[in-house]
């Protein structure tokens, strides 16, 4: 068999075309490789690094806060938090659907949080904390589909006392852009103190967050850790609060609106700080639910308001011992000065009524405090004038912030002519001085100011700075009042409880003798012949009582304000009495729950022995 060479010229022409076309395709592919690998190489390199490297912020556990005896006020507990790595996410809507399905939050919230995570930075954001086991399991099961989601163990604030320490502890919130810019250690979504102790001691409690850089594979499995900067936990903080007393205050104030501040008059150490109504601090421990926030903000009783430091009340008759001390010192009255109460007076042509319509008869300054005689103080205010009355109030710290470490304190108001011209554009009207004489009208105080002023009355005349952390208070300012005057006022306040006409004589039956002063501040003008119980709640008077014990050498001053409490003697005084009994009276039956809590609270830091009453029985009559 023989073969001849075919005539292949036309075939060869077409083959050359095919050859050139093939060469062109390879040149094109080579160009594509050049573009991807050399021109865009750095960009793809970054993407491949991001593929495998994950920087996981490690939040520092916040410092544990303990009370004066080492019981835990603010602790920590382990939770699972959900981190979102925005650059791993290709379809936010799909991720949002998944998370909504897991009931991480309502759909609008989930979308808003994802939006925020996308805006804030390329770093991971905390989408949720406090995940349930079911949610953790579901996210782990869908890891390959949602590599942008990462469940991470973290710690979260624990509040053994719940709402009882809400205002004291304060709120946590995500660091705002200003804080992020100012502090390189903060990362987006990190929780910082926004109010209360958490804010005041944020530097100390906050610690320093760490970082974990891990290599992950395509399935999100952690292959290895590249470097690990462990977080530095916040430092523990012991505060002067006495949880036992705080709990007693919570129980005594149940259902009431108002505030309780108790402090040691010797140095200003705060033992109780309570504002009612409170909120659940859990709401502010992590990422706030907008719905819960709106509900709190819209509540007419303003539960977010820390009444102990921020609310302004006319002090009512609780101002009288302060004026009495000032009047004795300035010589406007002497211990022997007597007045006669007929149940009311007429000054500048205007009638002013004493609270006791029948009148108190003859009263000296001690009795005027014991029976809270308005007539005595109407005359006193008239004789002194607003400027001198105001100077007495200011001498005891009213009208200025007490300087407690907690943020947001109000400074109150002690009026005078200058204030009236400035604030109201008219000169002071002398008739108002008479009202200010019994703590009504434009004189306004905060509960913590009342406690500090009374501390100065009973500690020998030193205006202490209230504080929650020992050693932080400034040196006390001496009050320029004669000790003999202070002693007379203290005798008057002891007679408030022990005297036979004392306004708080019902507290005399308690085992521990206490002293103090009642106060009722008017919300609306007094109506004749109407019992306070018959008034609608919001028209009832505020009930105040500031008490202390032991009477001979006071170790605790308790200021109580019950908004619209109606009656100081039957509403406010028993609350203060209960707290003082708890502090100095016989120990209560041990509560198994409290014992268990104390046992599980870990080693207490240097337990301080409970202050015991010393010599409370030898109160001078």
């Amino acid at each position: 068999m023989t073969y001849v060479r075919d005539d292949l010229r036309s075939v060869q022409r077409r083959l050359v075309v095919a050859l050139l076309a093939t060469a062109a395709v390879f040149v094109l592919l080579l160009g594509r490789l050049w573009l991807l690998q050399v021109v865009q190489g750095a960009r793809w390199r970054t993407l491949s690094e991001n593929n495998r490297l994950r920087r996981i912020p490690l939040e520092a556990p916040r410092g544990v806060v303990t009370d004066v005896r080492g019981d835990i006020v603010l602790g920590n507990r382990s939770v699972f938090q959900l981190l979102l790595f925005p650059e791993e996410m290709d379809e936010p809507a799909r991720t949002a659907r998944f998370l909504t399905g897991l009931e991480i939050a309502p759909p609008a919230d989930v979308a808003a949080r994802i939006d925020k995570a996308l805006r804030t930075s390329h770093l991971p954001s905390v989408l949720a904390d406090n995940l349930t086991w079911r949610q953790v399991a579901a996210i782990a099961a869908h890891r390959a589909e949602y590599p942008e989601l990462e469940v991470h163990p973290a710690t979260r604030r624990a509040f053994p006392d719940g709402p009882g320490i809400a205002h004291l502890a304060g709120q946590l919130g995500e660091a705002d852009p200003g804080q992020l810019a100012a502090n390189a250690n903060l990362h987006a979504g990190q929780l910082v103190g926004r109010s209360g102790l958490e804010r005041a001691y944020d530097d100390r409690l906050g610690g320093t967050p760490g970082n974990l850089v891990v290599v992950v594979d395509a399935f999100g499995r952690q292959i290895s850790e590249l470097n690990d900067e462990p977080p530095v936990p916040g430092r523990p903080l012991q505060i002067t609060l006495d949880l036992a007393l705080q709990r007693e205050a919570v129980a005594a104030m149940a259902g009431q609106v108002g505030a309780v501040v108790a402090l040691d008059p010797r140095d200003g150490a705060v033992r109780v700080l309570l504002s009612q109504p409170a909120f659940d601090p859990e709401l502010f421990a992590g990422h706030l639910e907008p719905a819960a926030w709106r509900e709190l903000v819209g509540d007419p009783l303003k539960p977010l308001h820390n009444r102990a430091l921020q609310a302004l009340y006319p002090p009512g008759s609780t101002i009288k011992p302060i004026y009495a001390a000032g009047a004795l010192d300035d010589g406007v009255r002497t211990a022997a000065s007597r007045d006669f109460c007929r149940g009311g007076v007429t000054i500048y042509g205007h009638p002013y009524r004493c609270w006791l319509g029948g009148g108190h008869g003859g009263v000296d300054i001690e009795r005027a405090i014991e029976v809270s005689c308005d007539t005595f103080f109407y005359h006193l205010a008239r004789d002194a004038g607003i400027d001198q009355v105001g100077s007495w109030a200011r001498e005891f710290g009213l009208g200025q912030a007490t300087g407690i470490e907690l943020p947001g304190e109000s400074s109150g108001l002690v009026p005078d002519d200058a204030w009236s011209r400035r604030a109201r554009g008219q000169p002071w009207y002398g008739g108002e001085t008479i009202s200010v004489g019994i703590g009504q009208g434009p004189i306004l105080v905060t509960p913590v100011q009342l406690a500090v002023a009374y501390a100065a009355l009973v500690n020998g005349g030193r205006l202490v700075r209230p504080h929650l952390v020992a050693g932080t208070g400034a040196a006390p300012r001496p009050v320029d009042v004669d000790p003999i005057a202070l002693a007379a006022v203290r005798r008057g306040m002891e007679r408030v409880v022990t005297g036979e006409s004392g306004t708080a004589r019902r507290q005399a039956s308690l085992p521990v003798v206490i002293a103090g002063k009642t106060g009722t501040s008017q919300v609306v003008r007094k109506q004749e012949g109407v019992r306070w119980q018959e008034l609608p709640w919001e028209q009832r008077h505020h009930a105040l009582f500031v008490g202390y014990a032991p009477v001979a050498a006071p170790e605790l001053v308790v200021a109580v304000v019950v908004e619209h409490g109606g009656d100081a003697a039957s509403v406010a005084a028993p609350i203060a009495g209960r707290i003082l009994q708890r502090a100095f009276g016989p120990p209560p039956e041990p509560d198994p729950a409290v014992v268990a809590n104390a046992a599980s609270a870990g080693p207490p830091a240097a337990p301080t022995p409970r202050p015991r009453p010393n010599g409370s029985g030898d109160a001078a009559p």
Partner: protein
């Protein structure tokens, strides 16, 4: 040895070296050391098989083409009936310790049969009758492969048609008819044959944002792998995209991405140039062929080879949708390697006998 095409041989051996090195990397990534070793064995066996075909006479083999062709169709039928379902298809036939993929070998038999038929037609242009017969010749195995179903392999038959019609010569009207026919076939395939995931791949390629975690995910990871290789690469067996398994199907469809990531532009361009050398040499052999039969064999093998390389690399670098077309000699798999080597052996035979006067 002088009678072998040394440039073609050199290109082939370089690709074989790259193949083995790349598979050692995927073997490490997928924790299956067998990949690299078996690939090496198949490459060695393939070289021997290539030599056997190179020293055979392609003209004699072409005379038995109908026999090979019929045998191939029979095997494809056996596969459809008897093969176990693996990864959703009936493509692999277990024979002893091996699994054979008849569709790869059937393509070589089809090339031989088509070449034999085209060589009989000595006119400058192909007649309508012979075009119909050629199309039917390719269509039969394609239909069987599509029934497996294995779209990726079925697509590798199409270059055979293109090559034989182009070399054989068609009037312009015929090309028009063919293009229209192809559009009709693609339309019909879209409506009745393609699986939803395959349609999704095509749509995703047109619009990559469509499904970043479906088909788009593979393409994205592949582009990241190639691009992050940079100029000199991350080093053999040190590519993070492959070692941490971000790359899908890295030992088969996406093996080029592994190579490009670990050896960079330098290695990837060298490999691509080796492929170009092979493809272009195959056309040069076709140009030098003593007869129409040799020309069609060499150009068909060359077209199939070039199209496979081009489509696969285009897919890996994000220029084409994922179709399941493997990279000849580099992708893991004995059947594909052996079939490629048989084709290359036939071309060497065409080259060796270009001046033969017997």
């Amino acid at each position: 040895m002088r009678r072998l095409d040394l440039a073609l041989l050199a290109g082939t051996l370089f690709v074989c070296l790259c193949s083995w090195l790349a598979q050692t990397s995927t073997a490490q990534a997928l924790a299956s050391p067998g990949f690299a070793n078996r690939q090496l064995v198949w490459l060695a066996v393939g070289l021997v098989v290539m030599a056997l075909f190179a020293f055979a006479d392609y003209r004699v083999l072409a005379r038995f083409a109908p026999l090979f062709y019929a045998g191939s169709l029979l095997l494809l039928l056996v596969v459809l009936v008897a093969a176990p379902v693996r990864a959703g298809t009936r493509a692999w036939l277990p024979i002893g310790p091996f699994t054979v993929q008849p569709s790869e070998f059937a393509r070589v038999a089809t090339i031989l049969a088509v070449a034999a038929m085209a060589a009989e037609h000595r006119k400058d242009r192909l007649s309508l009758g012979i075009v119909a017969r050629l199309l039917a010749l390719v269509a039969a195995p394609v239909v069987l492969v599509l029934l497996e179903p294995d779209l990726g392999v079925a697509l590798t038959y199409l270059p055979v048609v293109a090559a034989v019609l182009w070399i054989g010569g068609l009037p312009a009207r015929a090309w028009l008819a063919l293009v229209l026919g192809a559009v009709a076939v693609v339309g019909a395939a879209w409506l009745w044959y393609l699986k939803p995931y395959q349609k999704e791949r095509l749509l995703t390629f047109a619009d990559p944002e469509r499904a970043p975690y479906g088909a788009g995910y593979q393409q994205r990871q592949s582009r990241i792998a190639v691009g992050s290789g940079g100029l000199t690469g991350k080093g053999l067996r040190s590519g993070t995209q492959s070692q941490l398994r971000f790359l899908p199907a890295q030992h088969t469809d996406f093996i080029f991405a592994v190579w490009a990531e670990e050896t960079g532009f330098v290695g990837a361009a060298a490999l691509l140039l080796a492929y170009a050398l092979i493809a272009l040499r195959l056309f040069v052999v076709a140009l030098q062929a003593r007869d129409r039969l040799g020309g069609v064999i060499a150009s068909s093998v060359g077209t199939v080879f070039a199209v496979q390389v081009a489509v696969n690399v285009a897919m890996v670098t994000g220029l084409a949708p994922t179709t399941g077309i493997t990279l000849p000699l580099l992708s893991y798999g004995g059947s594909s390697i052996l079939a490629t080597f048989i084709g290359l052996g036939l071309v060497h035979s065409v080259w060796r006998l270009r001046y033969a006067n017997v």
